[in-house]
């Protein structure tokens, strides 16, 4: 493993791969400096911007006719993909911290939740962002008070004497401690502790409603007291199993789906001993030798967002409107703010079946068509047949790419581009990609042919 390969591996896991410009800049830097810079850059919180739309206050809304109010609500709901767009733009741009974006994406999948309104989506993703490398206790508390989540898991209906268990169950099963570490009775008691944790329908903000809160005595995980939601979270985090559950999830996402118990135990210890400091755990992970072991490189199937954003970085893709990010996400099976269920996207091989694989392999050709990178080759990529993909408002260029590889000899171009684009070897030499590339007359044409070919490979689907 060369230092350069380690840097690329780090950027794929702590971000979405390197843009050609960043690749040139970073490839010769020492790894420990790069890691420090990643965490330094992530300190400045850069929230996703909201679209320009004035949501009327509840006082205005409540005097409207039912129809007008519904119309307003629909307008607000229709703008949710704008948050998706702004976020994807941020992930793709080098002006934002890739680590902050990646951590936010990770927690978005962990606290999987469908957001129906743009304001709720924005406020959820920005509050996740705030604590994405901070303290997990703050993060889980923020999520417990988040409007999208309260609505998604029915805590709005969790009332004194009429508890609704949905949030309490998922909090333990999926968000913190994991199955097998609590009883059905614990769920019932936790649900009582979260009664009255509502969202204010006027402001869309958290509102504790005391008269709907069950302040009575509860016995949770063997401890009795007049617990409220904060206490329940504390009691769950006191258990070491919670740190192990989270470390396992982090390991599977950032390192390898195949878990190595000793590495997870190390991460869990650090998380627990640091009082759930996520950043401390993540820095340890990226500084560990085992993170760069061959068995952990190029073995993760990219999520659709990783694929899309990764291509975006290479080809300087500019997404023109919400549809231009929404359609690829839909086709590839991962729509932000719309996970399949509260367990999130299962990832790994589940991204792939016969149909999504075809879409992935064709996606590079679709993008090349859209950004008018079409090649003058005998073997031209097929025009996308789908109208929606055909009309995608995506632009891009290979200016930075050409610049980054301008000094490479033609004979080495295939090898160098392969090393930049693939995390697992393909052997471009003597392959059909080389045949395609050699048909081009110019070095720019050759670069295009190599990039399109390499991005269409099964090997490009892993990082």
């Amino acid at each position: 493993m060369t230092e350069e390969q380690k840097i690329q591996h780090l950027y794929w896991r702590a971000g979405f791969g390197l843009s050609p410009t960043a690749f040139q800049k970073k490839r010769k830097q020492p790894l420990n400096k790069i890691i420090k810079d990643l965490f330094k850059d992530a300190k400045k919180i850069q929230p996703v911007q909201r679209p320009d739309y004035n949501i009327p206050s509840w006082d205005v809304l409540k005097v409207m006719s039912k129809e007008d109010r519904l119309k307003k609500t629909r307008e607000i709901q229709k703008l949710t993909p704008e948050i998706n767009l702004n976020w994807v733009r941020q992930m793709t741009s080098d002006d934002y911290s890739c680590l902050q974006e990646k951590m936010t994406l990770f927690w978005h999948g962990h606290f999987a939740c469908e957001s129906k309104r743009f304001d709720y989506a924005a406020s959820q993703i920005n509050s996740i962002r705030q604590d994405a490398l901070g303290n997990f206790r703050d993060l889980v508390l923020a999520i417990s008070k988040d409007t999208s989540m309260i609505l998604y898991l029915n805590n709005q209906q969790n009332k004194k004497n009429k508890p609704n268990e949905n949030y309490a169950r998922e909090l333990m099963e999926l968000f913190t401690i994991g199955r097998g570490n609590y009883t059905e009775q614990d769920i019932k008691e936790a649900a009582r502790a979260f009664t009255g944790w509502f969202s204010d329908r006027g402001t869309g903000e958290f509102k504790f409603t005391e008269r709907q809160h069950d302040a009575g005595s509860k016995t949770f995980m063997g401890k009795t007291g007049n617990w409220n939601g904060d206490d329940i979270i504390d009691l769950i985090l006191d258990r070491k199993e919670t740190a192990t559950f989270l470390a396992t999830k982090v390991y599977r996402y950032f390192v390898n789906e195949k878990v190595k118990d000793e590495n997870v135990a190390l991460l869990a210890n650090i998380l627990y001993q640091s009082n759930y400091n996520i950043g401390t755990m993540m820095q340890t992970l990226f500084e560990s030798d085992w993170f760069y072991a061959k068995e952990n490189v190029g073995v993760k199937i990219k999520s659709p967002i990783e694929l899309l954003v990764g291509m975006g970085k290479v080809l300087n893709l500019q997404f023109g409107n919400a549809k231009s990010v929404l359609f690829p996400q839909k086709y590839l099976g991962q729509i932000l703010f719309k996970p399949p269920n509260v367990a999130g996207w299962p990832g790994g091989k589940t991204w792939i079946d016969n149909s999504t694989l075809m879409l992935r392999m064709n996606f590079a050709a679709v993008v090349f068509q859209r950004v008018e990178l079409a090649l003058e080759l005998k073997d031209e990529p097929e025009e996308p047949k789908s109208r929606q993909l055909k009309n995608l408002d995506i632009s891009g260029d290979i200016v930075a790419l050409t610049k980054a590889f301008s000094k490479v000899k033609l004979a080495n171009l295939g090898l160098e581009l392969e090393a930049y684009l693939l995390q697992t070897p393909f052997r471009t030499q003597d392959s059909f990609i080389e045949t395609l590339a050699k048909e081009a007359d110019t070095s720019e044409g050759q670069i295009k042919a190599y990039v399109l070919g390499l991005m269409s490979l099964p090997e490009y689907q892993v990082c």
């Binding site: 199955r179 149909s355 064709n362 050709a365 697992t424 269409s456 689907q461």
Partner: protein
């Protein structure tokens, strides 16, 4: 790290006999496979995701406990489509009433499993993998059927899930079902020159496991895409299916069955049954959609003489709590009901009595029939395979088919 060489998986795959990735020879191979026994017997699985409230679907309309437990969401007796003296159908489930009258449905009450799990994902996994509630399996029951317990399962489209992605139920250790939302879209995606070039590009070096998996999936997909597309063009249904996802998907299934495609198992899903809140409208809209789509499907197959070769199983991961919650909905429960439909049922109507609403388990209907007995009956009596190999245990046949 486990390496699988490309050459090795090509050899291991069903295409070894064809020896090449060129399409026409695959098609020949498939056509040969199709002359096999039981090839005409189809299984269609309809999954209600989210936990369908069985008590408001098959209504115990003479049971006081039912009405007392559900003051705001119970189906009133005068609206129930009455089947016998104690049970009737939700007014939106007309298809069940019609099939009940014609002897084409068998309804199993109180279906479930010991130590029920009330998490959607876990309970769905239990149904998909046919595991016990404390046992974790990574392969599905239909996937294991494909794995070697059926003689003509070698083609990748032997089991089709009409969906963007594949459910655990259809994932085996060696074989997988085939996810396909639409034959034309699938075919189109395999035609690009680059995809064809990648597929024909042979490498001798070892692949990392995930990359090997991608290459294998690619080879299988190209092989099946044209076949399914050609079959899908043979027959276009003349029956009017309702708009909406399920109608569209069942129409596609009917067209493939009627065209005698070499596919034995079809899997479709209807989402949205997690009715914690204002249940009645949501559930009835879903049941109505199901009823209309299924009615069209049955009509289509009957008119084309395929109904006797078809068995449809409709299930959900759990039933819902007997008592309604505070928001005119129901929380996750346990025992439920399951519908089997087909032209060759040996047991018709209600397989067993309705739920006992006095003796509950944590507020939920207790199971009296294990769903794995239904699977075993389907495997043994319909698909004619060794059920205990697939289920890893012996479950007595219920004799409904």
């Amino acid at each position: 790290m486990k390496h699988i060489s490309r050459r090795k998986f090509v050899k291991q795959s069903s295409f070894a006999t064809a020896g090449t990735l060129l399409l026409p020879r695959f098609l020949n191979a498939f056509d040969q496979h199709s002359i096999q026994k039981n090839k005409n017997r189809k299984l269609v699985v309809v999954q209600f995701s989210g936990g369908n409230d069985g008590l408001n679907a098959i209504v115990p309309y003479t049971n006081d406990v039912y009405y007392k437990s559900r003051p705001s969401i119970a189906v009133p007796p005068n609206k129930v489509l009455k089947a016998n003296d104690t049970l009737g159908f939700n007014p939106k489930l007309k298809v069940l009433q019609n099939l009940y009258d014609s002897g084409d449905v068998c309804i199993i009450n109180n279906i479930g499993y010991p130590d029920p799990d009330r998490s959607h994902f876990r309970s769905m996994d239990i149904w998909h993998t046919a595991s016990a509630s404390n046992e974790f399996l990574s392969t599905g029951w239909l996937g294991r059927y494909l794995d070697g317990n059926c003689e003509d399962c070698q083609n990748p489209h032997h089991a089709i899930e009409v969906n963007d992605s594949l459910s655990l139920a259809l994932k085996g250790a060696q074989m997988n079902g085939f996810a396909m939302k639409n034959p034309a879209q699938l075919k189109n995606t395999t035609r690009s020159k680059i995809v064809q070039a990648v597929a024909q590009h042979h490498h001798d070096h070892e692949h990392e496991e995930n990359v090997a998996y991608l290459y294998k999936t690619l080879a299988n997909t190209i092989a099946s895409a044209d076949y399914i597309y050609e079959k899908s063009k043979i027959y276009t249904s003349k029956v009017a299916y309702p708009k909406g996802k399920l109608g569209k998907e069942l129409k596609q299934v009917a067209e493939l069955i009627i065209s005698e495609a070499d596919t034995q198992i079809y899997y479709v899903t209807l989402n949205g049954f997690d009715t914690h809140n204002n249940q009645v409208n949501t559930q009835e809209r879903l049941l109505q959609g199901y009823s209309e789509a299924m009615s069209a499907f049955v009509k289509d197959l009957k008119e084309n003489d395929k109904w006797d070769d078809t068995l449809v199983m409709t299930f959900s991961e759990f039933g819902r709590r007997v008592a309604e919650n505070g928001s005119r909905g129901t929380d996750h429960g346990a025992g439920n009901n399951l519908y089997l439909m087909g032209g060759k049922l040996k047991k018709q109507g209600f397989y067993n009595e309705g739920p006992d609403l006095i003796n509950l388990e944590k507020g939920d209907v207790k199971y009296t029939v294990d769903f794995r007995n239904v699977y075993s009956t389907i495997l043994k009596d319909w698909l004619k395979t060794e059920d205990q190999v697939v289920l890893r245990k012996t479950f007595k046949s219920l004799g409904f088919i």
